[in-house]
Structures are given as structure tokens and as C-alpha cells.
């Protein structure tokens, strides 16, 4: 068990005993990463914030059901991905999916989105163009640096399925982004 994992368990116990400070500590430890997952899954900053709020609401309300056999973070990120799936589905139903080809310059958040994601817009668009299930695999492994095992636990999938999704997702991204030939250089966005 990692130190973080042990600390999370202790914090959850304290939270369940009514220690509000434990809530703040858990938030500090995990809010940015949950937000990062949501932002990359949702692309839209406001929707990512909404999803992040829903994730923590679910987790704190169900804290008594957290089974300590698994790492708290695994559970948390699983709730995060499922919450994003749910938000994406709602968005799709409302037919406002419209992952923008270009961001509206009149939108005061448009700059924030790019700054927050810090990916080239074409990569963001490519990422948004793959299925949520494929995107989740790429977000967890490539963007969040999770191991294949960790991603499999988080997604509650066999590791073979995660590998398959990852492979297919990367292939789709490569097709959209162009030829990644050997020696290809990846220009970064100018600050």
C-alpha cells in the first residue's frame, strides 16, 4: 500500500466520523487530477467543472460504501470516468455535443480552455473525435500516466481490453493528426 493510499483511507475514516477537515484534505489531494480527467474527457471547461463536482458529490455521499480492498484513488477515478460518460451522454442527447472545430473567440472561457488543457488544438480535437471509451483509456494512460494495470482497475476492464482500446485510440489519433513518421517532431504551442 502506498503512503497516499493509506492516507486516503485514514481521511475517509475521519470524514465518516464527521471530520470536515478530512474533506478539505481529500479535495486538496485529488481535485486537480479529477478535474484533469474530466476536462480531457469533456473538453469543455464548464462541463468539466460540473462533472468534477458530481464526482466528489458521489464519492463523499457514498464514502461509507468505499471498500478498502481497493485504493481510494482507483475508486475515485472510476467514478470520474463514469460520471464523464454520463455527462457526455446527456450532452449528446441535447444535441449540443458540437465539440467545436474552433473555439468561439467571444467566449471568455475559450482561452482558458486552451491554456488549461495545454494541448495543441488539433490534438484536442482529435481526442474529442474518438469514442469516450477509447478516450478514457488514452486519458488515463497517456495523459494521466497511469499503468495499464491501474487503468484496467479504474475502468473495471480486463487488461487486454485496455490494451486494445489504447492501441486503437492511438491509431485513430495518429490517423487524424497525420503521419507520425520516425523522426517526427512535435511542435509545442507557443505560450
Amino acid at each position: 500500500m502506498t503512503a497516499r493510499s493509506a492516507e486516503d483511507r485514514a481521511l475517509i475514516r475521519r470524514y465518516l466520523e464527521g471530520d470536515v477537515e478530512a474533506f478539505d484534505e481529500l479535495m486538496r489531494a485529488h481535485e486537480d487530477r479529477v478535474f484533469g480527467i474530466c476536462l480531457r474527457m469533456m473538453k469543455d471547461r464548464d462541463q468539466a467543472l460540473d462533472a468534477t463536482q458530481d464526482v466528489f458529490l458521489t464519492v463523499f455521499r457514498k464514502a461509507d460504501r468505499y471498500k478498502e480492498q481497493a485504493a481510494f484513488s482507483t475508486w475515485l477515478y472510476r467514478v470520474s470516468v463514469n460520471t464523464c460518460y454520463d455527462h457526455l451522454r446527456r450532452r449528446q442527447r441535447k444535441r449540443t455535443e458540437a465539440i467545436p472545430e474552433h473555439l468561439d473567440p467571444s467566449d471568455p472561457h475559450s482561452g482558458d480552455v486552451l491554456n488549461a488543457v495545454e494541448l495543441r488544438p488539433d490534438i484536442e480535437t482529435a481526442l474529442a473525435g474518438i469514442s469516450p471509451e477509447f478516450r478514457a483509456a488514452v486519458v488515463l494512460v497517456d495523459l494521466e500516466g497511469m499503468s495499464l494495470d491501474g487503468a484496467a482497475d479504474t475502468l473495471d476492464l480486463p487488461i487486454g481490453t485496455v490494451k486494445s482500446r489504447l492501441f486503437r485510440a492511438r491509431r485513430q489519433l495518429a490517423e487524424v493528426l497525420g503521419n507520425f513518421a520516425p523522426g517526427f517532431e512535435h511542435p509545442r504551442e507557443e505560450p
Partner: protein, 294 residues
Amino acid sequence: MSDHDLDLITELINGHLSPDERRAALARVAADPELQSEYESQLAVSSLLSDAPSPTMTAAERSELRTALRQQLNLDSAPAAAVIAPSRWQRWWAPATGLAAAAAVIIGVVIILPDSGSDDSLQFAAAQVETTVQASRNGGADTGGSAGSADTADEEPTTTTAAASGELASPATAEDTIDDSVGAASESSPEALPHIPEVDLDQLGLAYAEGPSEFEDELNKSARGVEPVETSEIWSCLLAETGDPAGEPSLEIVASGAIDGVDVVVVSVTPPSGDAYLIAVDADTCEELASTRP
């Protein structure tokens, strides 16, 4: 390219191999131009994404998030954690039969669940919303109860966290009484997203205390997004369990919750022939716990 090659490339990129295995894998890749090209392409995408810095919230967003959560969790006013213990769930669901009737909700069936370790066996009602709601759902038949084939060809479905963590899913999709996200339920979705929606037990409990109409309103609100989980493992399992020689039954999750530490899903089963019944299963194992099956 075989599945083995596909795995090999992913394992190479993600460091899942021992040094010897890695050497062998690299040799295998180097010997096949197609494999080599694919490996380099995948590695390039992975590196490109891995190098991206992690996004963070602004201070204002962080503050707003925590404030909203504190309010919703009643952390400022009530020091005790705002969590639902199974005993509370049991307390307010036990008399819910009377309430549900008063709220013009049709009580489906009362299921007596077997004792699973505690002395208190649980009795609860799985309610189904009134016929107007039912009729509206029938209008969206393509998202209806029969389990369709998952379209994620090579993939295994996810058993949803929401189910496993034991939230109560309220009865049906109330297309005519809730927001437009449900009003569009008849649209077919190209992506079968694995999910069982969250239902706020606290809110339902509060509405229950306020009165029948409030409860009904909340129940309808809670029905947002409730729909068959066609791609879930439990769905496949239920289909196998409830299979009928006359054809596939129509399945619909009507409730879920934690009972004595067991995550339970209650499903309404309507066979192609015969009467509908309810079945309660362990959400993790799909083991049948109780059923009103004739």
C-alpha cells in the same frame, strides 16, 4: 497484424515487459516493417500526449467547487458526514409502500430479501411509476427494456460503478415530466455508454418527508437518464438468467441499493409470454437473491 502484435506494441510503449521480453519484442518489431511503422506511430502519439502538462483549476474555480460541495453535503451546518447508511435506506424504504401509493405510484411487488449476515432481513418495495409515465417510455421503444447487442465489437462491457456502489435507482424514465435530456430518449445513441445513473437518496428521503406530491416530483427527477444498461455485464447475466424459450425478456432496472453490505439491483422482467416479475440480484456476482418469478 495479429492481436499478439497489437499487445506487444502496447506493452512495449507502456513498459509492461521484463528486460528480456523487451529485447525480444524489439527484435520482433524490427524484423517487420509494418510492425515497426505502427510501433513508431503509436509511440509518437503516446509521447506527444504524455508530455502535456496537467491542467489545473483556477483558485476561483477551486473555491467555488469546494463551497458548492460543502453546501450540498451539509458540511458547514452538520459536522457529521452526509452519507447514507444502509440502515437509513432501510428505514425510509420500509414504509415507502404507503407513501408510493399516496404519490400515485404503483407498487410493483414487495420483495423479501434473504438474510445476508444481519438479523434484520430487509423488506422493501420496488415501485413503478404510474401508467402515464410507463406509456411515455413505451414511446421510446428503441431504448426500451430488451437488451440489444452491444456495438463495441471487441470490447467487454463495464459493470458500472454506480450499480456496484449501491445507489437507489428510481423507477422509470418519465419522459413527459422531466427535462429534455430524457425527452430525447427515443433517439438512438451511437455510443452505448455503460452507466447506471446516480440517484440522490438524500433528496428522495427529504421529499418523502415533505409529502406525496414532493416525493413524486423528486422520483420523476431522479428518473433522469434511467434506462436499460444494455452493455453491462449484469445485463448479459440477467438475460441468461431470465431467458425464455419464446424470446428475450424485456429488462428494466427499477432500483438498486446496498443491503447489509450487498449491492443489490432490482430488475423488472417482462417475458414475451407470461406475467412480469421482479428479480433482485447481487450487483457484483449476479447471484439471484430474491424473485417474484411465478
